[in-house]
Structures are given as C-alpha cells and as structure tokens.
C-alpha cells in the first residue's frame, strides 16, 4: 500500500479521520452515551422518581392479574381498538394497562394508559414525571427536536461513531498493550492512556452498540437498496415488514360482534405452551369483534427482543399459526436485543450501564486529549487561538455540565410542586437549563476555577440525593430498608457513590492560580498542564 495517502501513510490518514470523526459530533455522542445508559435502568429510575408507587407484595397469578386489568380496560375504555396489559415482572412491579382508542380522547391523544396496583387492581396515582424513560428516550429523540429530525441527527452521529471506532482500531499499533497501560501524572500521555483504556476496555460493547443503533432504523437511514429493488410504497414496506416481523401482521375487524373467551383461558393456553417462561404481556385486538384475537408474549432470556408472540383467536381459542422467523430477521432481532439488553439479568445490566459510562468517558477523554495536544503544540508565548479556548471551555460544559443536568433532573423531581402544570416537562427544562448554565459558567469564569466549582457542585448534588429523598418522601434509605424496597435503596446509594467519586475528582483538580501574570492564555496553559498531570496522578 502506498504511503502517499490523503494525510500521508494509511495509518496517518486513518488517525486524522479518527480524530475528526470522533470530535465533530462529540457533544452529541457524549449525550447519547450518558442518556442512553439510563435505558438499562429506566424502570428502576421510574420506581425512584414515582415515590407514590407501592412496594410490590402481591403474588397473584398471571391469569388473575390479566383478568383484573382487562376488566379495568373494558370498564374505562369500552370503545377501544386494542387493549394491552403489561404483567408485573421483577423490574416492572405494577400492572401496566394501555388502550388504543378508536377516536382521540378529550386530551387529543389516541391512547390511554395507567398503572394498576397488582394487590388491589386500583389505579396508582403517581406524580407527573418523565422518569427513567424520558431520560433514555432522549438518546435517540433528543427531546426538543421533532422525532423525525432527531433520529436522522442521531443516525449521522452513529455513523461518525462507527467510523471513529473502526479507524481507532486501525490506528492502534498495540491494542493489547494499551489495554493494560494507564500511566498517571504524565500529562498528555495520561489522557491518551485514559482514552485508550476506556475505549479498548469496552470495545466489543462500543462496536455492538453503534452498529445495532443503525439497525434500529435500518430502512430509514439507508433506504437505497429497498428503493432500487422493491420501491418505497406501502405495499413494498408491508411485504418487507411481514418478512422481518412475522406474527405481527394485521388482522382486520369484520364488524360483527361476538362473545369472547375470557383472558384467563388464553393465559392458561399460553402457559401450556411456555411452561417455564413467565409471561410479559397479553393484548386483545378488536375487542368484541368476531375477528378479535389475543397475543401473548413471554419474558425472554435468550438473545431476542421478546420473541414471536403466541396468537389466539379470541372467539374459538384456536392458535393462529405464525410463520417461522427467517435467519436475517433472527439476526437483526438479536442485534437489537443486544442493544437494549432486554434479556439481561441484574449483573449484566450493571455491566451494560458501566460500559455506557465508559463510552461517555471515551468521548470525554478524547475531547480533553485533543485540547491538551493543541496546547502542547503551541509555541512558547504564542497567542492561544480562540478556537482552542472555545473548545477548552465547552469541554467543561459538555463533560461536567450534562451530569449536572441529570442531577438537576432528579432534584427537580423531588422539589417541583406536585400540582405544577406540565410538571414532567419542567423536570426536563431543569436538566437543560442547568446544562446551559454550566456552559455559561464555563465561559464566564477562569477555567480551573470553573472546573473546581462545577465538579464540587456535581459532587454535592449527587451525594445529597439520599438526604433530599428522605426529606421530601417517605421512601428514604431507612424506610427503604424496612420495606425491603431495594430498588430505591440502591438508587440512593448509587447517587451517593457517584457524589463521592466526584468529590475525589474535585480533590485532584488543581487549585487556581490567583495572580495571572501575562494575560489569560499563558495562565490557562499552565493550569491545564497541571490539571492534566494532577488528574493523571
């Protein structure tokens, strides 16, 4: 291979591409890693952010629970097109009921949902909160942006990430050695080691999560082959999706009313087919119609998103045959299951979560490394380019500002008045307002002071979450222990640990130089050099 490529030899060209493909959308990638990581504990975060939820104590059978839930749905929404009942699981301890309405309700929504207490069958009234889902959904919907735009922005970011990962691997001469190398107190070298370790340690996760992120929107992101060979009309899409998702084909209502079998009967039939799998949901499409049918899904422990559901004719109880899933659909389903970790037990879930944070660390160390490298390349007493000062300051807003926003989101959940209109939306506003304030603070304050102040605030906000929880609800750590409410207890402890870790980082940050000698730039340079050395060791 010739050495005269775009940026010199092949490896140099790829190193250049690695730097820029990683850097250009780094803010987006960091945001995706931080918020996406909460997806592995979205239901647990929901549980903490809705302290009104009862601690589960019911051990009724799936058939009993489904009967209670279906009765509730039929009573509250008699004219619905579909009912859905999410059965309690280890992670989701309430009964979730959902109805697709034929006509939008008074609130303009074409659906209605609620949580029921499994013990009583009554709706559980919880505070208006976005919970863990709102946090995790942001990693692909970006919150303030229209969904159709956001998924393409995220898609471009994901492609850049894929490129940065592959070129990062190609660039590495000693990937195995780098895995074990973390030299402290060596300035720029320490940041490079930290970047390499965080990248290589979770490399399989990074590759999987990036590629599978693209697979979620396979034909939205890359419609070329579909367009060229099948067209993009509705018929082509129906044919394609029937191939990829067998068992989900629509069965139209016929308009004749009929007596339906009770849901308990269907649950019994499903349990005969899946004797060892706990059921996850049951749904009823076209209730009251002669073409009504039940669908039943189970909790899966294999590499799939939930598997093909069982379908039953709701009038006769006969099983509706489902076509076998083709190999390519099994592959894409498995890839998506790996992304979501639906099959993961609690230990694997923690591994997923920490790998996601390592992804964020990879982006953060890459950002610091880039700025640090530019600093060391400056000639002595040379003016510091504005672009470099801008990057150094926005780095702080990105790296510390977003976790500050997340902490503010949890605080807002406890402190905003319960009767506040659009309360859930205001929780999210708090996240972004604090994040924006972090950027403003990074720009206004001397840089090393800004680092210390923001990291100190981060440590305080997270470390005080257990106290805040104990003062504002009756689900504090002591009560959680007494009630056996381990999810809320572990949430509080995790915040405490994160706060302590942030405090340890704060202690290692350099104390600001009080008397600048020759303008801001040289001071910043000295501070950064010390910061790199100090943070490294």
């Amino acid at each position: 291979m010739t050495s005269q490529g775009f940026q010199g030899a092949f490896r140099q060209s790829m190193a250049w591409l690695h730097t820029w493909s990683g850097l250009v959308l780094s803010l987006l990638l960091y945001f995706i890693f931080i918020t996406g990581s909460f997806g592995y504990f979205n239901l647990e975060v929901d549980h903490w952010m809705e302290p009104e939820r009862p601690v589960p104590s019911d051990d009724r059978s799936s058939a009993e629970l489904a009967t209670v839930a279906m009765a509730y749905l039929q009573r509250e929404y008699p004219d619905a097109a579909r009912y859905f009942v999410g059965l309690p699981t280890e992670r989701q301890t309430l009964l979730r009921v959902f109805a697709n309405l034929k006509e939008p309700g008074p609130d303009g929504k074409a659906f209605a949902d609620a949580y029921l207490d499994p013990a009583t069958g009554n709706p559980v009234t919880v505070r208006d909160t976005g919970g863990g889902d709102a946090l995790y959904e942001m990693h692909y919907s970006l919150h303030y942006m229209p969904y159709e735009v956001a998924i393409y922005v995220v898609g471009v970011g994901t492609l850049f990430m894929l490129l940065a990962l592959v070129t990062g691997i190609v660039t590495h001469k000693k990937i195995f050695v780098d895995f074990f190398t973390l030299r402290f107190g060596k300035g720029q070298r320490s940041w490079l080691d930290a970047h390499n370790v965080s990248s290589v340690l979770a490399l399989p996760f990074m590759l999987m999560i990036t590629y599978s992120g693209l697979v979620f929107y396979t034909f939205e992101y890359s419609p070329g082959v579909l367009f060229l060979n099948m067209g993009i009309d509705e018929q082509a899409q129906d044919e394609l999706y029937a191939h990829i998702y067998p068992g989900f084909e629509d069965i139209d209502a016929v308009g004749e009313s009929a007596e339906l079998l009770p849901v308990a009967n269907i649950i019994e039939r499903a349990q005969q087919q899946w004797p060892n799998q706990p059921l996850r949901y049951v749904d009823l499409t076209h209730p009251g119609d002669k073409a009504a049918h039940y669908g039943v899904g189970a909790i899966t422990t294999d590499l799939s998103r939930g598997g093909t559901p069982l379908r039953f004719d709701a009038v006769t109880g006969a099983a509706i045959p489902v076509a076998a899933t083709p190999a390519d659909a099994i592959f894409s389903d498995g890839i998506l299951a790996m992304h979501e970790g639906r099959f993961a037990d609690i230990r694997l879930r923690w591994l997923y979560f920490l790998s996601g944070l390592l992804g964020a660390a990879m982006v953060a160390t890459g950002l610091v490394l880039w700025a640090k490298k530019r600093r060391t390349q400056l000639k002595k007493n040379a003016p510091v380019p504005r672009s470099l000062v801008f990057i150094e300051r926005t780095n702080l807003g990105i790296i510390v500002g977003l976790p500050l926003g997340v902490a503010a989101y949890f605080w807002a959940n406890r402190l905003l008045p319960l009767g506040l209109e659009n309360r859930a939306e205001w929780e999210m506003h708090c996240l972004f307002l604090v994040w924006a304030a972090s950027f403003a603070h990074s720009g206004a304050r001397e840089l090393s002071r800004a680092w210390r102040e923001q990291v100190a605030l981060l440590a305080a906000l997270f470390a005080l979450v257990p106290l805040l929880n104990a003062l504002t609800t009756d689900t504090g750590m002591l009560n959680a222990v007494l009630a056996g409410d381990w999810v809320r207890l572990v949430f509080d402890l995790t915040c405490l640990v994160f706060g302590i870790c942030s405090a340890l980082v704060w202690r290692r940050l350099p104390v600001p130089v009080s008397a600048p000698v020759a303008g801001e730039a040289p001071v910043d340079q000295a501070i950064l050099a010390r910061a790199a050395g100090s943070a490294g060791g």
């Binding site: 490529g5 591409l17 070329g224 082959v225 060979n229 099948m230 394609l240 191939h243 390519d328």
Partner: protein
C-alpha cells in the same frame, strides 16, 4: 490540494478546508450511493439465483451496507487524488445501477 506535504506545520487554507469538505460529502453521500447501488445489484443476483427471497436479499444487503459505507468512507479519506476518487465512486455507482436495472428488466 493546498496543504503542502513538505511543510511540517500545514497551512489550513480555505482551499484545503473546501477539499476536506468535498471529501466529507463524497464519503457520506457518495458512500451511501455506491453502497446502495452495489447492494441492490447483489440483492438482485441473490434473488434471481434463488439464493433467498427478495425481501430477505434487500434486508441482508442493507444490513451489510453500513459496514460497506464505513469501508468506503475510510477509502475516500485515504485515497490521495480526489478527482480520480470521485470518478471511481460515480462510475462504479452508475455501472451497478445500470446493470441492476438491466437485470431486473430481464
């Protein structure tokens, strides 16, 4: 390209920036066009040879296409000559598109 190879400290001229932007556009859009055209042609071959049904061939080639795009993007940012590179990408895309249209018309 305005960036001088002999210089140890490259000058980031406007021409160099436009050159990088052109490579970026070629990598992104040209990459997708090439990968889609090659993928469609291979999908047609798989389908017509009875290897797999049409929907499966389209799905498989789209899934593989992301990796292909990554390879094309790397190649675009390595190949030294942008003009020749553009010719290869556009030409290969056109040949694959025409062959695919011809095959599907048979």
């Amino acid at each position: 390209m305005q960036r001088t190879r002999k210089s140890t400290k490259p000058t980031l001229t406007a021409a160099y920036r436009w050159h990088v932007a052109a490579r970026g556009l070629l990598a992104f859009f040209g990459g997708f066009a090439l990968v889609s055209a090659v993928g469609a042609l291979l999908a047609t071959l798989f389908e017509r040879s009875g290897l797999m049904p049409q929907a499966q061939a389209v799905h498989v080639m789209t899934l593989v296409g992301y990796l292909g795009w990554c390879g094309v993007a790397m190649w675009v940012f390595w190949h030294p000559r942008l003009g020749r590179l553009t010719g290869i990408v556009v030409g290969s895309t056109a040949i694959c598109l025409m062959t695919n249209v011809g095959l599907r018309a048979l």
